[in-house]
C-alpha cells in the first residue's frame, strides 16, 4: 500500500474509532479515556518506538482484564459483554492509530537525520571555507603517506592555531579569513589543508624538507600580515610544524591527539 493511502487509511480508522468510542462512553468514562489517550500520546512522543509499543500493549491488556473483572463481578448481560468488546476494539484502534502516526513522523525524522549524515559523509569540503573535511583529509593523507614511504620522501605538517577565545564574537569570520590565506599559501593540487578541530588548521606538505616547510610558513605569515595588525596577529595566531611520520598508525595517532586538544 502506498504511504499516502496508508496514512489516509490510518486517519479514517482513528477518526471513526474516536467517534464510536465517544458514543459508547458516559461523560465520566469519556474524561478518563481522554486522559489516558493524552498521556499515552505524550509517552509515545517522548519515548522510543518499542517502549511506546510496550506502553500500548500494557494499556490494552489492562483494559481487557479490567473489563473481564467488571463483567465477572457484576454479572453483566450478553449485551454488556458485546459493549465491552466494542469498547476495547475502538480504544485499541485509537491507541494503535496514535502510536502508528507518531511512529511514522518519528521514522521520517530519523530518515531525514540519516540522510543528512549520509550527505555529510559524501561531502569532501566545507562549502564556505573550501577546507577539506577531516574524514576526506585522512583518506587523502593515507594515500600520500603510503606513496611517500614507497618513494622514501619527507613530509611536514604545519599547524595553524587560532586563538579566538578572547575575541569569541569574531571567531567564525577569523577562522574563515585565516583559512583562505592558508589555502592560497600552499600548492593547490599537491598539499592538503583541513580543519581538525574548532580552531586548529592543518596543512600536510608532501615531498617537502625542512627548508620547504619554512618557506610555506613564511608565506602564510606574510599573507596574514597583509590583513592583520602584527600585534593582533601575534595574539591571534600560533604557527608550528612537525615532521610527518612515514608510519600510518603513528600519523593517525598524532592527528587524533591534536584533534582532541582544545588548541595547540
Amino acid at each position: 500500500m502506498k504511504p499516502i493511502y496508508e496514512k489516509s487509511f490510518l486517519l479514517l480508522i482513528g477518526i471513526t474509532a474516536v467517534f464510536i468510542l465517544s458514543e459508547l462512553l458516559s461523560t465520566e468514562q469519556r474524561i478518563i479515556a481522554a486522559l489516558l489517550l493524552t498521556s499515552s500520546m505524550f509517552l509515545f512522543i517522548f519515548t522510543d518506538m518499542l517502549k511506546g509499543f510496550l506502553v500500548l500493549v500494557v494499556e490494552v491488556l489492562m483494559l481487557g482484564f479490567y473489563l473481564v473483572i467488571g463483567n465477572w463481578s457484576f454479572f453483566h448481560s450478553h449485551l454488556d459483554q458485546l459493549w465491552s468488546i466494542v469498547v476495547q476494539i475502538t480504544f485499541t484502534a485509537v491507541l494503535v492509530c496514535l502510536w502508528l502516526s507518531i511512529s511514522l513522523v518519528k521514522n521520517n525524522l530519523l530518515e531525514i537525520k540519516e540522510l543528512k549524515r549520509k550527505v555529510a559523509s559524501l561531502q569532501r569540503r566545507d562549502q564556505e571555507s573550501g577546507l577539506l573535511l577531516y574524514e576526506e583529509f585522512v583518506e587523502r593523507l593515507k594515500i600520500i603517506v603510503t606513496g611517500m614511504r614507497r618513494r622514501q620522501e619527507q613530509g611536514y605538517f604545519i599547524f595553524v592555531s587560532i586563538n579566538t577565545r578572547k575575541k569569541g564574537w569574531a571567531s567564525e569570520s577569523v577562522v574563515w579569513s585565516v583559512s583562505q590565506q592558508v589555502i592560497l599559501s600552499v600548492r593547490e593540487r599537491y598539499d592538503l589543508v583541513a580543519k581538525i578541530n574548532g580552531n586548529l588548521l592543518i596543512v600536510a606538505l608532501q615531498n617537502t624538507d625542512r627548508e620547504g616547510c619554512d618557506v610555506v610558513k613564511t608565506r602564510i605569515m606574510d599573507r596574514m600580515n597583509e590583513f592583520l595588525d602584527e600585534t593582533v596577529r601575534a595574539k591571534l595566531l600560533f604557527v608550528s610544524e612537525t615532521a610527518m611520520s612515514s608510519n600510518w598508525p603513528d600519523v593517525i595517532t598524532q592527528l587524533e591527539s591534536y584533534r582532541n586538544e582544545e588548541s595547540v
Binding site: L50, L54, V58, L61, F65, V68, H78, S84, I85, Q88
Partner: protein, 405 residues
C-alpha cells in the same frame, strides 16, 4: 455444572493472564536491549550438522557455515547419516577444499534419528563448545560469535540459544504463518521467559552448549523425538542457564505443504508428550527451574490447546447468549475475545520487534487464530494417538525427516 464452569473459566483466565504478562516481559526484554560484548579469548567451537538425504540444501548450508565470522578455532562436522542421494558427494567437495570441514559417515544404528547422530558427533570433538545447525540452515555471519559472546559473559550459562528465521516465508500462506509463529515463540515467549525467570529452551538449531555440560548431561537422549527440549530439561536440572540471543540469526526452510507440516508438527508433539511423560519418572525434572520448564511445556502443548478449545466453546456459548446472570458464572464471550486479542497482540508484537510491520501482516495475525491455531487441536489428538500406539506396541520411535523443497 455451574460451579465447574466457573472453575474452568477462572483457570482459563489465569492462563490468559500468564500469556499477557509473558508478552509484556518479552517486549521489555527487547526494549532493554543487549550490548555486544567482545571477548579477549574465543574458545574453540565444533559445529555439528546432522544430515540425511540433504542434497537439495546442503551446499547452501555449507556455504553459509564457511562464511561464519568467528575469531577462535572452528571445525564443521557434517554428520552424514547414511544418505542415499548426493549429500556425501557434495560434502566431500567442501571437505577437500576446506581443512576445517569434516565429512563424517555415521555408522548405522538404532534408534534412528537426530539425537544418535549428534551423540556420534560429540564423541569426535574435544572443542570447548558444541554448536548445532540443521542441514537446511543458513546462519548469518555473526550468528555463532554472538552465541559464544553471550554464553561466555552470562553468569551460570552453559550455552546460548539463537533466533531461527524462515527463509521461504513469502512462498505461501502456510510458510508466512509458520514464520509468524516462530517469531512469536522466540521473540515474545522465549524472551519473556528469560526476562522473568532466566529460562531459555534449546531450539534444535542455532544453539550452543559447552562440551563439558553436554558430557555431564550424557549427550542427547536417542529415544527423544524432541531432543532439544529433552536436553534443555537435563541441562536445567544440572543447574545450567541457556540465555536467549535474538541478534544471532539463522535462516531455515519451513514446510511448504500442509501434509509435510502436519507430519513435522506431529513429531514435535510426540516428542514433547514423551518429555511430559518423562517428567513424571524423573524427580529432578519436577524441581526448581525445571518445574517452570514443565509448566511451559504443559502450557504450550496442553494449556494452549485447551485454551483454544475452550475459547471456541466460549465463543459458541457466548454467541448464542448462554451466559446470563442466573445461569452461568462467567462472561464467556468476553473471555473468548480476550484470548483472541492476546494472540493477535503476541503476533503483532513479535513482528514489530523484528521488522517493519505491513498491513498484510496485521490481517494475517487477526486471521491466524481462526485458521492456523485451530490445527493445534488436531495435532494434539494425532500426537497423543501415535504416542499411545508407540507405547502399546513397545516400538522404538521413528524419526520422520522433514521433506525439503
Amino acid at each position: 455444572m455451574t460451579f465447574m464452569l466457573g472453575i474452568i473459566a477462572f483457570l482459563f483466565w489465569i492462563l490468559l493472564l500468564y500469556y499477557a504478562v509473558l508478552t509484556a516481559a518479552g517486549i521489555l526484554f527487547r526494549v532493554s536491549g543487549r550490548k555486544k560484548k567482545s571477548l579477549t579469548f574465543y574458545p574453540s567451537v565444533a559445529i555439528l550438522v546432522p544430515a540425511h538425504n540433504e542434497e537439495k540444501v546442503i551446499a547452501q548450508t555449507l556455504d553459509a557455515l564457511i562464511k561464519l565470522e568467528y575469531s577462535g578455532d572452528l571445525d564443521i562436522f557434517l554428520l552424514n547419516d547414511n544418505s542415499a542421494d548426493r549429500t556425501g558427494e557434495i560434502v566431500e567437495t567442501y571437505a577437500e577444499i576446506y581443512q576445517n570441514v569434516h565429512h563424517i559417515r555415521v555408522p548405522e544404528g538404532v534408534p534412528k534419528g537426530k539425537a544418535r547422530v549428534l551423540n556420534h558427533g560429540l564423541s569426535l570433538t574435544q572443542a570447548d563448545y558444541v554448536a548445532v545447525y540443521d542441514a537446511d540452515n543458513q546462519p548469518e555471519p555473526a550468528a555463532l560469535e554472538r552465541l559464544v559472546q553471550t554464553a561466555e559473559t552470562t553468569d551460570g550459562a552453559v550455552g546460548a540459544v539463537g533466533y531461527v528465521k524462515t527463509i521461504n516465508e513469502h512462498r505461501n500462506w502456510l510458510t508466512k504463518m509458520v514464520a509468524l509463529e516462530f517469531s512469536v515463540f522466540q521473540l515474545v515467549m522465549q524472551a519473556g521467559r528469560w526476562q522473568l525467570f532466566k529460562l531459555g529452551s534449546l531450539t534444535g538449531t542455532n544453539m550452543l552448549v559447552s562440551r563439558e555440560a553436554l558430557i555431564e548431561a550424557g549427550g542427547w537422549d536417542p529415544y527423544a523425538l524432541a531432543e532439544d527440549a529433552d536436553l534443555t530439561m537435563v541441562l536445567t536440572a544440572n543447574g545450567g542457564l541457556l540465555p536467549i540471543v535474538a541478534e544471532s540469526r539463522t535462516w531455515e526452510q519451513e514446510p511448504e505443504t500442509l501434509k509435510v507440516w502436519i507430519r513435522q508438527r506431529t513429531r514435535w508433539m510426540q516428542g514433547n508428550l514423551y518429555i511430559i511423560g518423562k517428567t513424571f519418572r524423573m524427580p529432578s525434572w519436577r524441581r526448581g527451574r525445571n518445574l517452570l520448564h514443565t509448566s511451559q511445556l504443559l502450557s504450550i502443548y496442553i494449556g494452549f490447546v485447551a485454551l483454544l478449545f475452550l475459547s471456541d466453546a466460549w465463543f459458541v456459548l457466548g454467541f448464542f447468549g448462554f451466559r446470563e446472570p442466573e445461569s452461568t458464572p462467567a462472561p464467556v464471550l468476553l473471555l473468548w475475545f480476550e484470548s483472541w486479542m492476546i494472540y493477535v497482540i503476541q503476533l503483532v508484537s513479535a513482528q514489530i520487534m523484528d521488522k517493519k510491520l505491513k498491513l498484510i501482516d496485521i490481517i494475517m495475525s487477526c486471521l491466524m487464530y481462526f485458521t492456523y491455531a485451530q490445527l493445534w487441536l488436531y495435532l494434539l489428538v494425532r500426537g497423543v494417538y501415535f504416542q499411545l500406539k508407540l507405547s502399546k506396541d513397545e516400538k522404538q520411535p521413528v524419526w520422520d525427516k522433514t521433506i525439503r523443497f
